[in-house]
Symmetry: C2
Subunit: 252 residues, 2 copies
DNA sequence: CGGGTGTCAAGTGCATGCAATTGGAGCGCT
DNA sequence: AGCGCTCCAATTGCATGCACTTGACACCCG
């Protein structure tokens, strides 16, 4: 239009949601621990955007319960209490029972293959860090939810699963993923057979046992540099400004 | 501190959430119909804030699913499809079964009195408009959720209930509230007796029947003036700027 | 030496300004 | 008339600037 149409701005993938995704991942992978401070301008610097955008992203994450926003104070990664964690799991159990009830016997071959492929990935990642395993396990559940084709259900399952993920990072012990993988396989099998009650029972037990393992004390370790922590996550943001600013940063 | 501490800004009750509340109410009372446009600056004018704030509020409401945000386009009130409405009710049923399961037999006398008082209010409002009845009925369910003392559960029940409210406004017929009030009373009674299974069944049936009534055709009526529609809702915003701007507005 | 107090930098809350995008009105061409 | 084009007003996307709040440190006084 008018004079010229710059093809530079055509990326358009909404900076806010990009930052949300990055932060979400950093949080559930425990790169950002519960209680970690998230000052708007540090975020803005790291991701190459203004405070306005960083602020907006924090608002979204707060709505999801991953971030705590206190008026006139620096935002922090949410630190769910034990009770809140338990509540989240209770809700999650109900939601995911609904998911598998809707899915039982209705999956295509391709979908079952996709699920199996994901569990294979979980298997392969068994050598990786705890946080990565937890993230993959969480993504399995989200993948299931997506197959319901119910955007609302996907949203709620994702949110509550991320929340649970957050608390798992806090409380759980290393070996917890081991058996979960088998349980994932069992769920897939039961879904294929179409026995709704059976798969609901499996899912219930699966989540309940994961939750029950989360009864150990937390392991605090605060205080790393925000800019360092976020470095790998900022790479995903495709903008020359990031690079430029990354050099300057370092004023923590 | 320093020179002076202006006591003017001490109100501090977070403009964003005030606007969210106002818009939420306007939406679920059908003052703003699904599809209604919500331009940032009109909102800002009406509520006496800048676009920044209005925008942020829209973001929150979008996260709740009440508003649809399209890139570079005017935001609109969400228009849930019939399928989405059904999905929302399915989720809601599970969540509220959880609520009453947790509550059965554990309510204090005072809480039961509070619930009864609310239903009395619903009774009294039977003469009012449909939208008001629907809102009150919805608030009954939210009140229940709040009694679980689980902030997460409150949030999800509220959200999904508002969503359902939105679709009810779209699809439902006048008489639908009549019997719902009796069902509310029955639920309170069963909660008092402490029979968890019974009250879960009651709640399930209650929500299911409400949902099943929502099968009639929508009644479109678009096109009123945003500034007029919002007038009664803007009154809640305590700021002299609102008054000033209200006179100027009118540039639709 | 301890507790109140002044000062200040870091950070948030919000408004405003500017560039880019969009939808549509007007206009010409067929 | 119908179709496409250009241009413009309305509106969003985003950065920046300024006022206010908060927490911390140094300072002073008892």
């Amino acid at each position: 239009m008018a004079a010229r149409t710059s093809n530079k701005t055509s990326e358009s993938l909404d900076k806010v949601s990009v930052i949300c995704r990055a932060l979400r991942r950093a949080i559930i992978e425990q790169a950002l621990e519960p209680g970690a401070k998230l000052p708007e301008d540090s975020l803005g610097e790291r991701f190459g955007v203004s405070r306005t955008i960083a602020r907006h992203a924090l608002g979204q994450l707060a709505a999801e319960g991953l971030v705590e926003l206190r008026r006139n104070r620096i935002a922090v990664v949410a630190t769910p209490s034990w009770q809140e964690a338990r509540d989240a799991f209770d809700i999650r159990i109900e939601l995911e029972r609904l998911v598998v009830r809707q899915l039982a016997g209705k999956l295509t071959k391709a979908q079952i293959a996709e699920l199996n492929a994901h569990v294979d990935a979980e298997d392969r990642a068994r050598g990786s860090t705890d946080a990565v395993s937890i993230r993959l396990a969480t993504e399995f559940h989200i993948l299931l939810a997506q197959m319901t084709n119910s955007p609302i259900l996907v949203r709620y399952v994702s949110e509550v699963a991320y929340r649970c993920c957050l608390t798992l990072s806090l409380f759980s012990r290393p070996h917890s993923t081991e058996c979960a993988i088998n349980e994932h396989r069992a769920i897939i099998a039961a879904l294929g057979k179409g026995d709704a009650d059976k798969v609901m029972e499996l899912m219930h037990h699966h989540l309940d046992s994961v939750a029950n393992r989360a009864l150990v004390a937390p392991t605090p370790q605060r205080g790393r540099d925000l800019l360092d922590i976020l470095a790998p996550y900022a790479d995903e943001v495709t903008s020359e400004r990031v690079v430029k600013l990354t050099k300057v940063a370092r004023r923590g």
